[in-house]
Symmetry: C2
Subunit: 347 residues, 2 copies
DNA sequence: CTGAAAGCGCTAACAA
DNA sequence: TTGTTAGCGCTTTCAG
C-alpha cells in the first residue's frame, strides 16, 4: 500500500531517491542497505538506516515486482470458502505460504465449470506468481485448459493426468482403510452416504472404490441397498440420504460418510431416530474437519493430510516458479499420507 | 502472472512494444486499444487487435500498477478462516470485491494482538490498495495503531472510535430484538451462552447488554444463574457451558447462544439430555451461518447483515482509496441492518 | 486520431 | 566499497 505520513495531510511516500539524498549517498547504496547486501561499511549503513527511519521509508513493492518479475503473491482458487473443507484448506495454504514468505490471494469459482475455465485465462490474477487450483466443475475432458502459461498446481480428484503438477490425497487407500477399520471392529453392514452414481473419477467414486475393495478383501458382499447417493456433499444432503435409508428399512451397523459434513448430517438423523452412537451404529467420516472433534459423539474420520496437501502445494508451486525458463520437468503427482483419527463414534 | 507460450519451450511474454511493432503502429495506439480509448479509427483498432491476438498479448499488471499507483488488490485480515463466521465473511468480501473489479488477498492473524499490530505495519501487504481489518486480540487501548498511512476499514466490535472507518452490526439492538422475540413467544427464563465476564466492549458484552435491555423493558428479572460464560466461542465451548448449566439444575425455557456455533453446541447437549426443541426449550443463535439452515431443528438466529457488512466494507474502502490525497473525511461508523431469521428451534 | 518521450521506483550490470 | 545508468512495461502529457 502506498505510504503517507502525518495525520490528515498526506505526503508522498519516501523513495530510494529521497533516502539517498537525505543520507548523502547514492541510490545504489541505499538499495544495498535495504537488501542487506553485505559489502556496506558499517558507518555508511548506519547513516543510511538513520535516513530510512527518519523518512519512514518503505520499499515500493510494485516497483520491486516489476523489476524482479516476482510479486511474492500466489493465488488460490477454490469453490467457496463457506464450505468448511475449503476454508480449512485455505487456512493451511495461507499458513504454508507465510512460512515461505508468500501471501495468498483467494478466488472463488463457485465450483462452476465455466467460471473455473474462465479464471484460468483471466487477467485478474496476473500479479500473482502462480496458482493453486482446486476445480470442482471441470472434469478430465477439460484437462487441456490447464495448460496455462504460468506455474500452477492442481488439487483434488476431479482431473488426473493433466499437464500440471498435482497434489492429492490417497482417496482409494484412505477409504479402504476407513472401511477396513470398521470391519476390524466387527461391522458387517456398512452404509455409505454421499455416493455419486455413475461417476468414475472424483472423490465420491474413488472413495466408494476403496470401500468396495475393503469389502471384497474381507469377503463381505457389496449391497446396493447400503449405498446412499447424494447430489452435493452438504450437511443437509447427508441428512436427507440417511433419512431415506432409514425409511427404506435397510439394516446396517455402521455408516461411512464420504465426507465429514455428510457424516455429521447422517449422525444427526440417526440420533433423532434414537440410534445410539456408537452402541447401535458406528459412524465414520472423511476429511478431519475441526468440527469433528467437537461433535457429540466426536466423529472418527480420515485425516487426508490436509496440512500436508497445503504445504506440498505451496512447495511444489514454488519449485515451478523458481524453475521459470529452465527446461521444465514433466508434471508430477504428489500423494499425501492419510491417517484414521479414531474418536468416539466408533466405539 | 507472467505469460509464456508454446508447450515446453517458454517464450518471453509479448509487450506493448511487440504488439506495436507487429501492427506497425506506435505503442500509444496499442495502449489506446487495450484501454478501450474511444478515439481510435476502426481500421487501426482492428489491425492492433489482430496483432494482440496473434501474440496473445496480455498486459503486465505489475507495470500497470507501478504506473497507476493502484493494484486492484485489497487485503482482508481475519483471525482464521477455520472459524465459519470469518470464512463466510471472507466469502462475502471476495464476492463484493469482485463486483467492484477487485481481488482479495487474505491474511490470518490468529486473533493474536501482537500479530495484528505487526500486520498493520508489515511490508507484506504493500501491494494491495487497502485493508479490511477484523481484529480480535487488539482492544480500544490499541486504537492508535490503527492510524496507518493507507486506506483501511475496521470491522467488528473490538474497537470503537478509532481513527478509521468502521463497519459493524447493531449488536445491542440485534441481541435485544432476539431476546424480545423469545419473550414475545412467552419465554420468561432465557439462558445465555457465551458471556464474557467483565467485558465492556466486544461482541459478547454488547449482545449481553441487548439481552438485559430486553429483559428490563419487559419487566423480567435478570438472573445471574442464567448466564453461561465461555472463554472462546467454539462449538465445544457452547457444549461445555450448556452442560454446566444443566448440572447446576438451573431452570430455563429458552437458550440464547451469543453466536450460532455456541447455540449449536448447546442444542446438542440439550438433545442429549432429552430436551425437545422447541417443545421444551427454544434455542436462538446469532450470525446466521449457512449451517443453521441445516441443523435439526433448523436454528432461529440473527442475521447481522453479513453480506451488507462485506459489501459496505468494500465500498467504504474503495471510497477512501479514491479519495487519496484529497482532504480526507473524518472516520465514519457504518451500521448494518439486522434481521431475525425465524426457523424451527423457536416454535 | 496517432507518435514521441518522460518517468512510476526499483534492481543490477558496469564503472570508478 | 560506492556511484552511474539502463531498463522492467506501462500510462500519459504534449506535439503533430
Amino acid at each position: 500500500m502506498e505510504i503517507a505520513k502525518d495525520v490528515g495531510r498526506r505526503t508522498a511516500p519516501a523513495t530510494l531517491q529521497d533516502v539517498a539524498a537525505r543520507a548523502g549517498v547514492s541510490i545504489k547504496t541505499v538499495s544495498n542497505v535495504v537488501n542487506d547486501y553485505t559489502h556496506v561499511r558499517a558507518t555508511t549503513r548506519a547513516k543510511v538506516q538513520a535516513a530510512i527511519d527518519e523518512l519512514k521509508y518503505q520499499p515500493n513493492m510494485t516497483a520491486r515486482s516489476l523489476r524482479s518479475g516476482r510479486t511474492g503473491v500466489i493465488s488460490l482458487a477454490v469453490p467457496e470458502l463457506s464450505l468448511s473443507y475449503f476454508a480449512e484448506l485455505a487456512d493451511g495454504v495461507i499458513r504454508a505460504a507465510e512460512r515461505h514468505g508468500l501471501v495468498v490471494l483467494i478466488e472463488q469459482t463457485g465450483g462452476d465449470r465455466d467460471r473455473e475455465i474462465e479464471l484460468l485465462t483471466s487477467t485478474r490474477l496476473h500479479l500473482s506468481d502462480g496458482l493453486i487450483f482446486s476445480p470442482l466443475g471441470m472434469d478430465s475432458d477439460d484437462a487441456h485448459h490447464l495448460d496455462v502459461p504460468y506455474p500452477m498446481v492442481l488439487l483434488g480428484e476431479r482431473i488426473f493426468g493433466g499437464p500440471v503438477d498435482h497434489v492429492t490425497m490417497r482417496n482409494v487407500e484412505a477409504a479402504r482403510a476407513a472401511t477396513e477399520f470398521l470391519i476390524s471392529r466387527g461391522r458387517k453392514r456398512i452404509a455409505v452416504i454421499g455416493a455419486h452414481e455413475g461417476e468414475v473419477v472424483g472423490s465420491a467414486a474413488l472413495r466408494l472404490q476403496g470401500y468396495r475393495e475393503a469389502l471384497a478383501a474381507a469377503g463381505l458382499p457389496f449391497d446396493e441397498a447400503l449405498i446412499g447417493p447424494t447430489g452435493l456433499w452438504h450437511r443437509h444432503d447427508g441428512l436427507v440420504a440417511m433419512k431415506a435409508m432409514l425409511d427404506r428399512g435397510v439394516e446396517f451397523d455402521a455408516v461411512f460418510g464420504l465426507n465429514d459434513t455428510l457424516a455429521l448430517g447422517a449422525m444427526r438423523v440417526l440420533q433423532e431416530a434414537r440410534y445410539k452412537i456408537p452402541d447401535d451404529v458406528f459412524v465414520m467420516g472423511f476429511d478431519d474437519l475441526d468440527e469433528t472433534q467437537y461433535s457429540l459423539p466426536a466423529l472418527t474420520t480420515v485425516d487426508p493430510g490436509r496440512a500436508e496437501i497445503a504445504e506440498m502445494a505451496v512447495k511444489v508451486l514454488l519449485d515451478r516458479i523458481g524453475a521459470r525458463g529452465s527446461r521444465s520437468q514433466p508434471p508430477l503427482q504428489h500423494l499425501t499420507e492419510f491417517a484414521i483419527r479414531e474418536r468416539e463414534s466408533t466405539g
